[in-house]
Each structure stands twice: as C-alpha cells, then as structure tokens.
C-alpha cells in the first residue's frame, strides 16, 4: 500500500492504496463517483471511461499510480451548474434506455467533439465504435452527437459575437 494522490473534477484526493489498483475502483469505491462504471474490466466496452489530459481513458485497466494529470468524470462535465452541451443534447434526444453504458458514450463523444467539432457520420461511427451499448441506443447517440456539435458551435458563435460587441 502507498499514498496515491489523484485530482478528480478539480479536487485533490489522497488514498492509501495498492498502486496497481485500477483507477475505476478508487473513483467508485473511495471517491463515491458513480459515473464511471464496471462493464468488462478489460478495456473493451468503454463503460468506465474518464477524461485525462483531453483523452478518453478506460479507467478499468488504468493503474491508479500511472495517472498523470487531472481526471474528469461524468459528474465533472457540468460547469457552474450548467450541463455540458453533450449532456444537454443527450437529454434533448432522449438517448438512454437503461443508461448503464451512457457514461462511456457521453465521455467518448465529448472527447470526439473536442478534437473534431463537426464529425461526419463515418467519423462518428469510427470514433465511437469501441464504446458498446446493449440497449442499442446507437442511432440516437449519433443524432445527439450532431446536436451537441450544433449546440457547441452556436455557443461559440454567440460568445464571438459577444466578444466583438
């Protein structure tokens, strides 16, 4: 066991833990964050996805001691009480069914859009392909990603306009 310090959603936490412990179990069991979920423990499904240094990272296969950088979980996407545009789009499109995988869908889409603000259908298919949903909400996820892209672009245009005025 040793002390590992993790910065999650803007707050630093130190836990006394076996350093090889996957990040997922610390987020869920020690920090009470339920966004990232256990789906496979193999990095195959994406349910455990968090964002570290702008990348979608599978926390179920990431030893906590290897984490360098701030971790954002689903709970940390909202800013100043406002849901992230990706989350808003998810609600407007009524994407989830059981919702168990949606953490991975939302976090992966968030990173996809941050790297490619206007993804094509093919880019969405390829960029999201490793994030699985067994209720098969894929069709609505594609619509939500496009809607989020528009929301983000509109917000950007509005703030540009505000800046110029």
């Amino acid at each position: 066991m040793s002390n590992v310090t993790l910065t999650v959603n803007g707050r630093a936490h130190t836990v006394d833990i076996e350093p090889s412990t996957p990040l997922l179990y610390i987020l869920r069991n020690d920090l009470d964050l339920e966004g990232p979920r256990f789906g496979c423990g193999l990095g195959q499904c994406g349910a455990c996805t968090v964002i570290i240094n702008g990348a979608a990272v599978r926390s179920c296969i990431t030893p906590c001691s290897s984490v360098k950088g701030e971790i954002t979980t689903l709970e940390g996407l909202a800013k100043d009480g406002e849901l992230d545009p990706v989350q808003r789009a998810w609600i407007e499109e009524q994407v989830p069914q059981c919702g168990f995988c949606q953490n991975g869908q939302i976090m992966t889409a968030k990173v996809l859009l941050s790297r490619n603000p206007r993804p094509t259908d093919t880019q969405i298919r390829e960029g999201m392909a490793g994030t699985l949903c067994r209720c098969m909400t894929y069709y609505r996820i594609h619509a939500a990603i496009k809607r989020a892209a528009t929301l983000i672009a509109d917000a950007g245009a509005a703030s540009d306009k505000g800046g110029a005025a």
Partner: protein
C-alpha cells in the same frame, strides 16, 4: 389534421365503420400523428424528493416488511399537502420509459399535472406486487389497475369537494388537481386542501392485483390529455448528469466485496480448496463454499478480484462431456431423442397437399445459443442487519427475488425485502437473479453486508441463454403459386428452461447442491402470423444437452424468448416460397393475409394487413420478385421484409442491406418498422423502444453466437462474443406508429405492449434482404463476414 385512414387492405366493412367512428374521435387522429407534432414541454420536472433518492431513503426502516395491501387505495396513490402526488406501482423499468408512461396514464385519470407527480417502483415493502417487469406487458396488463386506482382517487376527491361545497358532484369541475364549482369558478379547492397528507382509507375490490378496481369509471380515450404526449422521460437527466444512484453502487457500513470462483469446466466437482493461497492477501475475509459453489470475500473490491484469481481450487472433471461443441450443435440437436414432443397442431391434410403440390420447397435453418451478455455483469448487495435481509438489486422481478431468497435462506417472507434500483438491461436476465441470491447467501453466512459482482467472463459464459433452435420446413405451391401446404418442424435446446427467481433453479442452488432434481420441460414455439394456409402442420420438440444441471448453457427468457429464432425461420421460408412462386415478397404475404376474413377479438388480421402495407408504403417498396438481378460492383444492395405479432402487437419491418461481395460484410443501411400496439401512451418513448428492439435483434442477426468446446463456453468477452457497435448502425431508421386498431364499436382503444415484438422479425428481414441482393439464402444465424463470404463464394457470387 388529416382524418385517420389506416393503410388500405383492412376489410372494407371495417374501414367504413371506422371512418364513421373517426368523425367523432379526433383523439385517435392526434395519437397517430403525434410523433410529428412539436410539443412545447419543460424538462421533466420531479416534484419534491427525487424518486430515486426516495428509494434509498425508504431503505432505512428496520422491518418486518409486510406486503402493501393492493385493495387499499393508499397503497397506490398519496396526495401531499402541496397538492403533489406520489404513485406507487409494483413494476420496474428496464429502460423503456414505462415509469414515465405509468405516470402519464395515472395523471390523466387523476386529473393532475404530470410535473406535480412522482412515481415509486419495484421495492417490495412499499409497492404492491405487480410482478415487476416481463413479457412487454407493463402497459398492456398492469396499466389498467393503475388507471383504475387513479380514477378512484379522483372520484373520492370529487366527493370530498362536493361535501365541502354542499353541491352534487356533477356541478363541479376538476383540472390539474383543482376542483372548482362550475357555476362559480372562484369557488375552488385543491387536492392538497382536500386530503393532503391524510389517508384515503378507501377499500378497493378485485380478485387479484390485475383486477384491482374502485367504483370510478375510466375516462374515454377522447378525454385523455396527457396520454399520447411525447413527454421526456424523468429518469434520463439523472442518468446523463451522473446523479442517479444505481444498484451497482450501493455502499453500506461494514460492507465487504465478494467474487465467485466458478468451476473451470461445466459439471466439475469441487475436490479441495487451498485457502492459504489467498490468506496473505490484504483485506482477505473468507472463502465460502458449499457443494460446488465457491466465493471469496475481501474488504475491498480489488482485493476480492485478486483473491478470486489467486485462489487454488482442485476440481474433478465430469466423466461425460457436458455438451457437443458449438460447431457440432445442430447435428447433435437434429439427431437427439427429444425430451418432449407435444402433439402437432394440424389443419387440413398437409401430407396430401404436399404430395399433390406443383412445387415443394424444403429448407433447414439453425439458430445458435445467444446470451443476454448484459453490458454490466450481474451484481447485488445484501444487508443482514437486524436479523432481516435487505437486497439492493436491479432485478426486474424484484418481488420474485424476495420470495425466492426467503425460501432459499429459509427466512420468513416478512424478514426479506428487495429495494429495487436501476441497473443494466433486464431483458429476462435479471428475472433469474443469481447475484441477488448469492449476495444474500453470503451476507447471511458472514453476518455483514456483502456486495456481489460478477466478472465479464463469468457473465458472458454463465448468464442465461436464449435456446438454440433447428428448423426443418416444407411448403407446397400450386400451379398458380398459391401456398397450399406448410409443414413446420422445430427443435429447441431448451430442456430445463429456468423459471423466475426459483430458489431451486438459480445457479447457486444448482452448484451448492440445493437445486431441484426435476428439470423444467422447456418448450419450442411456432410462428406468430395470421397467414391463411389451408393445410398446415406445426411440430415442436425439446431436446436436452447431455449436462442438464450446473451448466453454463442454461436457458432462460431472453427478450421475446423464442420469437427471433422462430420468426427467422418462418419468415425466411415465406420468402423462399415467394421466390419459388416468382412473386413479390410483400404481395405474397398480402395474399396470405387476405385469403381469410376470420378475425380475433383484437382485429389482428386487419391490423397485420395494415402494418405490412404501412411498412411497404413508408419504404417505397416497388413490387418485384427477389432476388433482383445481380449487381456488378463490390457492393450489392437489396431489401427484405418480415412480419410478426406478439400478443396483440403487430409489426412489419423492412431492411435494406449492402453486402460487400469481397469481404462478406453486411451493413443494414436502412430499417423501416410499421408498429401497431393500440393506444400509444408516449410516442417518443415508444419509438426509441422499437429502435432499440430492432437493433438488438440486428446484433443477434449479424454477430451473436455463444461458442463452446465440449467442456466450457469459450465466449467470454466482447472479442470472443462480439455485439453490434456504432459502426453497424443503420444510416436511417423509420418507425411508423400505425395505430390502426379497427374495432369499430369500442369507445376505447386498448393499450397493448411494446418492446419485444420489435425484436421478432428483424433477423428474417435482414436474411431476406441479403437474398434479394445476392441470390444467396443464409439459413444459419449469425451472418458474420466469414460465413457470408463463404456462402457467396460457394454460390459464385
């Protein structure tokens, strides 16, 4: 709005009477078109306590846990002082939005605004036992008592208001929880003022919970205002912002983490456990074993994972091979002696008709075992505090879990309760809730709260499976291409099909030597269509694998348990017959549907005709026989239709595919579904449920197959058991809510079920589209690239 006009093909006399009716029922028009309306609606607000938070809060009480009395109105409806209401229902929502739909129905009958209500579901000590969910019958069956109790609450409130105003009820009006005097609307009283925080103390009647009723009459469909609206689901915001508390995340003081250690091969017997192999692991608590059931328990989750991996267990392999390999499964099934063969269902003289037919078509079809493979493996947490047993679970049949665990642990029912919380997809898996039983068993052994979590490999290999099927079909056409004989023969590997949370069939009971020695008989099924065929024989058999108990190839109810398999065979075969008759596949089906005018009580024939027509019109189907002339490029395109019903819900689906002749890859580019389930409660929720059902069946069509050698399942993760991904998603999905119930003399449209019906025809529609594109008939599921490519090469496509 255009008048309601079902797609033509409904018998003329029905259509005429329907038009008369439609002159007076504008509501029906609205419901049909409501998916096209943009309805302004504020985000689903929840009043007072979040139902999910409430569910955690109610878990504080110490027991005993008596059954809420379904014949008491207070068990169903509570009006608060602020005129908000809480509904309590004995159902669970597996993600199809039934909770929102229940609220819509109950709000309408109670006359209260939707956003002034909340709903509690599924926890056994605070909600009446409506069985949880299953069979896609939540709206069809359980919606009725919910409507009736809400209507009764409204009646009682109106009587209270009548007494207060000293006026007869017929001189009062009620809207959104406020009763006013018709003659003087300034005289008003709210529901909260009438009864807030007090009990109704009204006794209901009914021989069973489905028959629960007061004396109030239900509203006519035309008077429903909230039913039919595309309201947003209340459970979606907390699923999106991360605030939802899930069953998988329950934490209790003193809780420990458990993992199972499964036999390495099916049917293995436990010889010995070397506990010293894990005693040094930090946080190690205990190894628990009984019979062939083994679990390790540690203080922390990662410690339990390590202990389960490191525990040295000696097993003895069984003397007989538990099953054939998945490659040899169909040969085995076709030659096995059936465990049961019910009397065939025979109409006319199929043998004579086949003997005299101008053309006889024969085909065999195979469908593998397909697993639930829930995205989140099984889990539950059990708390033995105060001598009671509380299980926090996502079991879709939480009431059955409570009864089953009480019996399994030999505890009085009153000492056991299940707190239902959300979890990964139900679809039948959690109706045989292994983890709930295991957590409770271990909690009782240890005297501490225990959280059980299955691994991915464990879930994929050992979850319940949809039964494998083989089919042998024969059909006879006369000289004019009419189908005159149909001989159906199905075999299902379904012996010892698991029941719902039975204490002697769940896996821990089998492994621990506490299981039944009498296997359930299982069953095969016959096609669900309304085709008029003069000579038919429907034969079914159940076969058993060599190992019946303690096997990972155990069958249970998987989303429309036999429907996708049976419909794949029967609707593929109808297409083969259409091709043999050189007939258009839609016209061939329409001829079979219109060859009789015999109806059932729900006008299922007329509605079948309506959905097939609606699907074809929406798709833009141009009539021609399949296959189409072979294309010249790498990508071959085609379209296929299939149709089926489930209970009173009828669907027709059309798939458009692209088949890559160089790789064998199939992409279903477009899906159309015409869906008829009577009164639609929430059209947007319904559309998504249908989309999910279709894509789920598409996953079974293209990817899913449980593989095994002769001693173990070798499908253990998402690589060895692939599923549909974003890359497979169709570019277009169109859902038409036909709502074409044509019964002309009924004031109300009944609400039927949705969900599983949409799973039924998809595999066949895809197979038929592949045939249309390539001229190659795929008769074995799934249609993975290698299998398709081999079939194309064999046919020199």
């Amino acid at each position: 709005m255009t008048p309601f006009r079902p797609f033509t093909g409904i018998p003329k006399q029905v259509e005429e009477r329907l038009e008369e009716l439609n002159a007076t029922i504008s509501r029906r028009n609205f419901l049909r078109d409501s998916g096209l309306l943009v309805v302004s609606f504020s985000a689903a607000g929840m009043v007072g306590a979040n139902p999910f938070a409430t569910q955690a809060a109610i878990a504080q009480a110490g027991g005993p846990y008596r059954d809420p009395d379904f014949r008491q109105l207070d068990s169903w409806v509570v009006i608060h002082a602020d005129s908000t209401a809480t509904f309590y229902v004995g159902k669970t929502d597996c993600g199809q939005g039934t909770g929102t739909a229940f609220r819509q129905m109950m709000c309408d009958e109670l006359d209260i605004a939707y956003d002034k209500t909340s709903l509690i579901m599924g926890s056994t000590d605070v909600t009446v036992d409506q069985g949880g969910s299953g069979g896609s019958d939540a709206i069809q069956t359980d919606g009725w008592p919910m409507r009736r109790v809400a209507a009764e609450a409204r009646r009682v409130l109106l009587e209270l208001a009548a007494a207060r105003f000293a006026l007869p009820v017929d001189q009062l009006a009620v809207s959104e929880g406020v009763v006013t005097v018709k003659a003087d609307p300034s005289r008003r009283v709210t529901y909260g003022e009438l009864i807030g925080a007090k009990r109704f103390n009204v006794t209901l009647t009914g021989d069973n919970i489905n028959a629960t009723t007061g004396v109030a009459k239900l509203k006519a469909v035309q008077d429903l205002k909230i039913v039919g609206l595309p309201l947003q689901r209340y459970d979606i915001p907390p699923k999106v912002d991360g605030s939802l508390k899930w069953a998988v995340g329950v934490k209790l003081p003193g809780m420990v983490h458990a993992r199972n250690v499964k036999p390495p091969v099916a049917g293995a017997k436990l010889v010995s456990i070397d506990e010293s192999s894990v005693r040094g692991i930090p946080g190690f608590v205990k190894v628990v074993s009984k019979g062939n059931y083994v679990a390790v328990v540690c203080e922390r989750e990662e410690q339990a994972i390590r202990a389960a991996r490191d525990l040295k267990v000696t097993w003895q392999k069984p003397s007989v091979r538990p099953f054939p390999t998945s490659e040899n499964l169909y040969t085995y099934m076709r030659s096995a002696t059936p465990t049961s063969s019910p009397n065939p269902n025979v109409v006319g003289n199929p043998d004579a008709a086949l003997a005299s037919a101008a053309k006889v078509v024969e085909a065999d079809y195979d469908v593998p075992f397909q697993g639930h493979t829930a995205l989140g493996p099984a889990h539950a947490t059990a708390d033995p505090s105060n001598g009671q047993m509380t299980i926090y679970s996502n079991d879709m049949k939480s009431y059955g879990l409570r009864n089953g665990v009480a019996e399994f642990l030999q505890m009085p029912r009153e000492q056991v309760r299940v707190v239902w919380m959300e979890g990964p997809q139900g679809y039948g898996r959690t109706a045989a809730d292994d983890a709930g039983f295991e957590a409770a068993f271990l909690a009782k052994e240890l005297g501490r709260p225990v959280r059980m979590q299955w691994t991915r490999a464990e879930e994929t290999a050992w979850d319940t499976k949809g039964p494998a099927f083989t089919f042998s079909l024969r059909g006879g056409l006369d000289a004019q291409g009419n189908l005159v004989a149909f001989d159906y023969n199905a075999r299902a590997a379904d012996y010892h099909h698991l029941g719902y949370n039975e204490p002697d069939t769940v896996l821990i009971a089998q492994l621990a030597g506490m299981g039944t020695s009498k296997p359930a008989s299982g069953g095969a099924a016959t096609p669900s269509e309304m085709y008029a065929i003069p000579n038919r024989r429907m034969t079914t058999h159940v076969v058993s694998l060599p190992l019946v108990f303690e096997t990972p190839l155990r069958t249970g109810n998987l989303r429309d348990p036999n429907g996708p398999q049976v419909t794949f065979a029967s609707e593929s075969f109808i297409d083969e017959l259409a091709a043999a008759a050189k007939a258009d596949p839609v016209e061939f089906r329409m001829k079979l549907l219109t060859a009789s005018t015999t109806e059932d009580s729900g006008f299922k024939r007329a509605r079948s005709i309506a959905v097939v027509k609606a699907a074809a019109e929406t798709y833009g189907w141009d009539p021609r026989p399949s296959p189409k002339p072979l294309g010249t490029g790498d990508i071959l395109t085609g379209r296929g239709i299939a149709y089926a019903y489930r209970s009173q819900t009828v669907v027709a689906q059309i798939a458009e595919v692209e088949v890559n002749r160089r790789t064998g890859h199939v992409w279903v580019k477009r899906l159309v579904c015409a869906h008829e389930c009577g009164l639609v409660i929430n059209p947007e929720g319904l559309r998504r449920t249908i989309e999910g059902g279709m894509l789920y069946a598409l996953s079974r069509a293209l990817h899913e197959e449980v593989k095994f050698d002769t001693e173990k399942v070798t499908s253990v993760d998402w690589v060895t058991h692939p599923t549909l991904t974003h890359a497979d998603t169709p570019a277009s999905i169109e859902v038409v809510l036909v709502n074409g119930d044509p019964k002309p003399d009924r004031p109300d449209l009944p609400h039927y079920g949705a969900g599983e019906t949409a799973c039924k025809p998809t595999i066949a529609a895809v197979a038929n589209a592949i045939f249309d594109a390539t001229g190659v008939r795929l008769r074995r599921v799934p249609f993975r690239d290698a299998r398709v490519l081999a079939a194309l090469k064999a046919a020199k496509v």
